[in-house]
Amino acid sequence: MNPRKLALLFVLGSVLVPVSQAQIKHIEMRVEGMT
């Protein structure tokens, strides 16, 4: 593969992968009035 294409893929990958891995991992609530 063309080295320029490879470099572009690497740059895009390093930017896009962290965003796709972004997420909410855990939610905790304290509630009142629960029976």
Partner: protein, 132 residues
């Protein structure tokens, strides 16, 4: 309430502790879960939420007004309330760095018996767990 929460999109598991009034929600693998929707679901089941904490991984971004927010997914971001810990992540704004934060997303206003279900959610950082 547990069933009501379990039906919300993105929810994998709900654990309720009646003793200390704690509700733990485990999101599905994709993490596509809406805390505001959960808050409303709890409200709709007749229970009041005193506080909500989240652990989220995402990028620090700046909105149009220059305020910082945590982008937890491409279509979901939470405005960050100013505190000392905000300063530690401020330099990462609009960079490709990813952070894992634990923070308070909602707290029932003092003196109110019932809080509004649609209160604006702002993330008050309690702990910066990881910077990548």
């Amino acid at each position: 309430m547990k069933q009501h929460l379990g039906r919300q999109s993105g929810v994998q598991k709900v654990d309720v502790s009646l003793i200390d009034g704690k509700v733990e929600v485990t999101p599905k693998e994709d993490g596509q879960i809406d805390p505001a929707q959960l808050l409303k679901a709890v409200h709709d089941s007749g229970v009041s939420v005193a506080e909500m904490e989240v652990t989220a991984r995402g990028k620090i971004v700046k909105d149009a007004d220059g305020n910082l927010a945590l982008q937890a997914s491409p279509g979901q971001s939470f405005a960050i309330a100013p505190n000392d810990l905000l300063k530690t992540v401020e330099p990462l704004a609009d960079s490709p760095a990813v952070v894992t934060l634990r923070g308070e997303l909602y707290r029932k206003p003092a003196g109110k018996k019932k809080a509004a279900a649609s209160a604006p959610l702002k993330l008050l950082i309690l702990e910066v767990q990881k910077k990548e």
